[in-house]
Amino acid sequence: MTAAAEAIQVRPKPTSDAALVWFEECDKHDVERVGGKCSSLGELIHMGVRVPPGFAITTAGCTRFLQDAGILDEIDRLLQGIDAQDIERLEQVSSLVRGMIESRPMAIELQDEIAEAYRKLSVRCCVPAAPVAVRSSATAEDLPGASFAGQQDTYLWIRGADGVLEHVRRCISSLYTARAIAYRIRMGFEHTQVAISVGVQKMANAYTAGVMFTLHPGNGDRSVIVIDSNFGFGESVVSGEVTPDHFVVNKVTLDIMERTISQKEVCCTVDLKTQRCVTLPVPAERQNVQSLIDDEISELAWMGKQIEKHYGRPMDVEWALDKDLPAGGNIFILQARPETVWSDKAATSTSGEARSAMDFILAGLLSGRRLS
């Protein structure tokens, strides 16, 4: 039995207040427990999508840490009667709270549990001190606020248990950015009731990575899949640091309808000496090379189509192509969430009320076609 399979099988079903769960122990119903990101990763694993393995520190686990360290009480006191408009005060309180979260001791049991899960993850991946991405995973109640924080709180290529622990704390502390606090005050959420989860996921050693929308972000066309890609980790694409390569794929037939190869001056990758994630210039001779080959584009689009079908709505997907694995099994989905911009628009009817073909043709003739 492989290490990976063992890791899944030997674990008893986690209790509802467990501090830690593996992604495969979650599904889409677990948003409250592990946040949107991690529950979605669990769901993807269940539908058979290739997802890098990992675990989540649950909302219960995070809350327990804040409670045990006495931080929750202090937060309550500090945020009492604070004014959402008072930016200076907000900043001050935020930095106090975040300082506490990032420095106060964590219960040794929780530390051990996280370190042990991390060790098992490394064993599963057959690497000593597996490089991981540590990300906050927000729960639905606090989605907009936490997603501000969440966007900023992604730590890449973290290796070793100490590093993981440190960055887990940082992710938790992202709940208390001045912006998130102000948002909750305005929305009337209790500061102590909001919860966060943190995902720890094996990092793909990305040759190329990027994002994929299962509709056209420009016009909402659901018959296409749009892929943006650059060499290295997907962060350079997500952050808008480069103009990525851009592909439009026909969702029905999976053929590539548009290819725009951009000049990609930088990419985000790991510095092997320092073992840190850095932004590096792309060698001149590779800048204009297509960063994702046609077969990979089609395979990725096919995966996107399956994910959309499973969720029953257009999706926004982050993906990476692992350079250590052979073609045909090297595309990983790092994240998938519902697309919101076009999907949430009320379905507007093109035809108004369906008409007979004859009436439609007449109307078409009368309005004619614009020359451009």
Binding site: N250, G364, L371
Partner: protein, 611 residues
Amino acid sequence: MKFPVPHDVRAQVIPGTEGWERMYPYQYQFVTDDAERNAYEKEAFWFYDGLHYPEPLYPFDTIWDEAWYLALSQYNNRIFMVPPVRGVDHRMINGYVYISPVPVKDGDEIGSRVPHFMERAGHYYKNWDDLEAKWKHKMEATIRELEKLELPRLPDMEELNVVIDALGESKGFHLLKAYDDLINLGIKCWQYHFEFLNLGYAAYVFFLDFVQKLFPSIPPQRVTQMISGIDVIMYQPDEELKKLARRAIELGVDQLVTSSKEWTDVEKALKADAKGTEWLVSLSLAKEPWFNVSTGTGWFHHDRSWNDEMNVPLVGIQTYIEKLREGASIDRPTDKVIAERDRITAEYRDLIQDEADRKQFDELLGCAKTVFPYVENHLFYVEHWFHSVFWNKMREVAAILKEHGVLADVEDVWLLRRDEIKQALWDVVTAWATGVKPRGTATWPKEIEWRKGVMEKFQQWSPPPAIGTAPEVIQEPFTIVLWGVTNKSLADWAAVQEVGDPETITELKGFGGSPGIVEGKARVCRTVSEVGQLEEGEILVAPTTSPSWAPAFAKIGACVTDVGGVMSHAAIVCREYGMPAVVGTGHATKVIRSGMMLRVDGSTGAVSIQR
């Protein structure tokens, strides 16, 4: 959009062609001596119909342009009363045809046309299948009449029975009448051609419009795929070749059939063999009517049929025999094609979010599927079958003119207008009756030589894609179909034309006709008679393809054409074979040479040339 003034273009006469106007009907000229007409011409928008006329028209070949000028216009404007448009006006510069849809400008008049249109067009849409069956009868009767039409030679002495039976008519009169009948049959055939065509296009165009509103990125080739028929009769000639290949193997005469590339040799060998004669019987059955298929589009006198050029179908049969000997299947993957069409339709339909939209989709799809087979099938009856017979009947007329010294060669007849031929026949017939020499023996050969020179100069000229004043909207369905093809393609073609040296061009743009990417060696075939040179896996580069090219597709890896849209033969056949096609590149046969390495991307419509 700014375009040149038609009369400015017209004023720049190519040296040595002065007086060319007499080669075409006078109403085709842009005028300066009629203020009212001149103002109308300046305000109108004219675009070069490069889709139908990649080359300047020979004077006689103008007949089909006149025929559709009349037919399309009358159906729009006088029969179906299409509310916002009248007909399509025509002009000509240097042998190239420019067309312009004429709008109904008065809102009240448009409104008053609506109920008539709904009643009249509605009747056709509602009774489409019945009326189309009727059409087929009318069309077949017209073709039979044409086939039976006799063009009598002029005898030194009339038969005795003219006297005995008191006929009271001479062969001279019969010849004049037969020529009129021939022309009238041609015009009649084109009356039928447009009876359904514009309504068919309208249903297709507005279905396309609707689907593109739902899915702005949908390639037109996918929309065409949803409505394309499977048992289209344009495939039948190719099916006949396959049957003949199987039959040859069955009878054991395949060796004889493949013994030479020359039909006359093969025929001789077959006639000498008992089984061979049996095969020849199968052949003669297949020929009627399927070998009337043209080796070109059928629009021009130089498009000969399989019957005229038996080497063409012979190469096709040989290709299929070869495939059968290798154990390969030559059957069309009909089930696969149908399954794929249905899958694509269902998937797009499932992507429609709104219930009313889905209903509208079903309604328009149903209508388009009803009318589209006509759009595909009429081609065989009119442009292939009728035209092939017609061109040869005209050659019979030409042979008579040659006999009487008016023409130096049969093929010179195409340099005369149809009304000039009538005049020449009168000249010949009266001179024959009188017993003198026709006047035309001295005038026509000289004029024809001069016209040949003019045609050569016209061929060198590049017609501007559009002239006049562009309107904001175009409402005429036929123009929309044409414009859809030309608007984008002309811009791409113009870009290529701007590159001075064709040797430096590394990319051509056309329409993605069938998706996929293939790299391979180019083989330029200007006519179907050259497809015998094709080797397995090569990329066929052709001006355009037609059903008689079908066997070539069994060999090639991809196809690139100069002319054609997503409904063109090359696009449809490549989709069936699952190989890429880029159509309507404008210049492929001029820029690409056999042996060049190409990369054909049938999704984006790009052809890269490795230099």
